[in-house]
Symmetry: C2
């Protein structure tokens, strides 16, 4: 048994107590009243990093909340890994739905309840302890590591890209390791090798300069709510297929082997539907639910408003209607091209009887898909096999983590996504929790990862 | 010259000062903090009615704001007219858009600005002064009159129908006179002889039990906002024609003569469009704008909401979407039948992937259309000709006044709608006003009306 592994096994319980201290800090990045707490969490991290034996520990400013950086670079000839995570958390509200306080970490039935337990303090902590295990028992790491833990992930990382560009030399690495995702299910460890991209729009239509009486004017002018409904309704057909010309042109087809692999995953459509409380599942015809979620693009109405939305009746003919519409993209769709096609199509669909404005809001996210046979990915697979005692599965997720595409673009190195969250652990919701078995096996996997990576030939040329 | 007419001409300016006192009372029926003011307006009315020489003046309670009643019944063998109006007003907000205070009546350029100036205190006042002119100069009226001035019209008259049913004996009359509408334009006095009916629905669709992450779940379930847009978009075709099967079956066709008469009215589609600030007019193909507004039914989305409607981007897949949809009906459409057809059609259009609820809200309004050759209508036409010095035109309005259909049903007598408002007088909006020329000529017309009606054979058999 490797001494680092023994160390983690011996410290299993005391680690949970240490994590609680990190979770007690209400580092809610979106609320200005918590700015001091966000700073406190950054300081907790630096103290921890120093105690572990990391070097160059520093809090680096951005235009918003700071980035915490540390490294250990004494493994010449060995690969350098950049560990990315975030120490900020979502707001805990609504507070009355929490069984115990969001910042009073509590263990119930082998699960640790607190805001940030799984997203992402617990997963950051997992890496810190795996590093500690090596450094305390060996005085060294088998590879070089850098840690970059940001404080604005929950508000969309507005200052991260400028930070990365500014500190390109500092963050240079051979591989990126990110633990901010979930496994498919308990007992099914996995590696996420695909993410969808994202573009997001607001559509505004205006019929008249002000709201009108629906009796006095109904029938004389178009209803903008109706015009908008007609535009939206024409964006997808009855089979859930997006009708924007050229939208699917670059979509990378799933191979027969990929479809078989997805089909073998432990996923029950029936249970999934029941958990959501949906009368039925629905989506693009000819694909399974997992295929639709992971490998097919979508177009969703995220918001919609027009006219009177209070209780009761108001006979208003609205002047305006607005919709938020986003698309998740898959390889090899180009967000810029799809944004152009979408805008053109909406303009074409819009009747001349209203004024139209199509505005792209929020940053674009690139779709990302990594090969599963890359040496780094295979090293992580072996580490998870050893840490969890189970063969990991390869999964994708329908969501978007823009920083992955940024790392790919800036560093041109592979990213390894090992998430130890579970889908039902209430990230962003009341009663967020973390399975302590997964934390432990995740820590073991992380400790194994450095040994496995040390054996690969990952050094940048 | 009839002494009543001379009286009105002599008092023209002092009447405006008297009306200001009525307008100073902020009788906003929808706000409980104004309950005392609503009562004060009722008391102002009763004092005025007594001063004029009306009898049986009383404030009659309802479950809400009271009804003011008065009569003068000393013209045996002559018809009895029931004058209906309302003394409550719309809330004045937004206050910062008023040039002078909503309850500080001010004359500018021959127009009296105040909340309630045209809707409906000014028009009620017009009738009071026409009655006063007869009673003060002759000591008598040429006909019998009853006045029923309610205090809840601006909140949809929720307690009026029960009141009328309870006081059927009190309100019995040979003709109903209502002044709560508008003329087509300045210099174009008219009689409104048609109103559209109304039914109003809320449609709720639910996809999942709670909002979802649009990345994590987009593509797996239907989007309720999208499903609702698809339902709404299918309720009308591209030519503005409502697609509910059977919807037009009972719609009474316009005769060639009716279409010619409408075509002769002084109405400019171009000016109308410009005033509304619309890029184009739009509605059911094959009909003019006036025909569409007055004689064709409509279906309008009055409100629409789903998901995230704040600023910026939120990647939510909404659990629910809601729309308010109302229809204006024309003779001989039956609101009950159309309500049934609408509900069936929406259920048919709704995909099975969402849960649907269709709820009828608000009371139904019956469409109403009166012949223009009725002796009472002709009497009013002569009165307007004398009062305004101009031949009145016969118009309809696209709006709904449910009480007209109620009077028709309960009393089985004609209703005469003589409105002296103008379309641009901002009823329900900031800077509500009343043209003082129209007030004066309306008063003269109302005074003439009682003489003209006295000569008709209107007595109920």
């Amino acid at each position: 048994m490797h001494p680092a592994i023994t160390y983690i096994q011996e410290k299993r319980d005391s680690f949970v107590e240490e994590l609680k201290a990190f979770l007690r800090i209400p580092s809610v990045s979106t609320k200005s009243e918590h700015t001091g707490d966000v700073q406190k969490a950054a300081e907790w991290l630096t103290a921890e990093m120093r105690a572990i034996g990391l070097e160059h520990v520093q809090i680096l400013p951005t235009a918003g909340h700071p980035v915490v950086y540390a490294d250990w670079l004494h493994a010449p000839g060995k690969p350098t890994a950049l560990i990315y995570g975030h120490y900020d958390v979502q707001p805990p509200e609504p507070l009355d739905l929490w069984i115990t306080g969001p910042f009073e970490p509590t263990v119930r039935n082998g699960e640790l309840y607190a805001r940030g337990a799984v997203d992402d303090k617990g997963q950051v902590f997992m890496h810190l302890k795996a590093l500690e295990a090596h450094l305390k028992t060996q005085g060294a790491l088998p590879v070089n590591v850098k840690l970059l833990i940001e404080g604005e992930e929950e508000i969309g990382s507005p200052n991260l890209d400028p930070f990365l560009l500014k500190h390109l030399d500092l963050i240079g690495a051979d591989v990126v390791v990110i633990s901010d995702t979930a496994m498919m299910a308990k007992g099914v460890p996995g590696i996420t090798h695909g993410l969808r991209g994202l573009i997001y729009f607001q559509i505004d239509v205006e019929g008249t300069k002000s709201d009108l009486h629906s009796g006095g004017f109904g029938g004389a002018v178009i209803n903008p709510a109706f015009a908008l409904a007609q535009i939206l309704a024409q964006l997808k057909d009855r089979n859930g297929r997006i009708t924007i010309p050229g939208f699917y042109d670059e979509v990378r087809k799933l191979s027969a082997e990929e479809r078989r692999a997805m089909g073998r995953l432990p996923f029950s459509e029936k249970k999934f539907q029941k958990d959501l409380g949906a009368p039925a599942l629905f989506g693009e015809k000819g694909f399974t639910t997992l295929e639709r979620l992971w490998a097919r693009p979508t177009l969703e109405v995220n918001g919609l408003v027009s006219g009177f939305i209070g209780e009761g009746a108001k006979t208003v003919l609205p002047a305006r209607a607005m919709a938020k519409v986003s698309m998740r993209l898959v390889p090899d769709q180009d967000p810029a091209k799809i944004a152009r096609l979408f805008t053109q199509h909406v303009k074409r669909l819009c009747p001349k009887t209203v004024r139209l404005k199509v505005t792209e809001i929020s940053g674009r996210g690139m779709p990302w898909l990594a090969p599963t046979d890359h040496p780094a990915t295979q090293a992580m697979a072996r580490a998870i096999q050893k840490g969890f005692g189970k063969q990991p599965v390869f999964t994708r997720t329908g969501g978007t983590i823009p920083v992955v595409a940024t790392f790919t673009r800036l560093l041109k190195v592979p990213s390894l996504l090992m998430g130890i969250g579970l889908p039902n652990e209430n990230a962003h919701a009341p009663n967020e929790k973390l399975d302590l078995d997964n934390l432990h096996h995740g820590m073991l996997s992380a400790a194994h990862l450095w040994n496995e990576l040390a054996d690969t030939k990952l050094i940048r040329s």
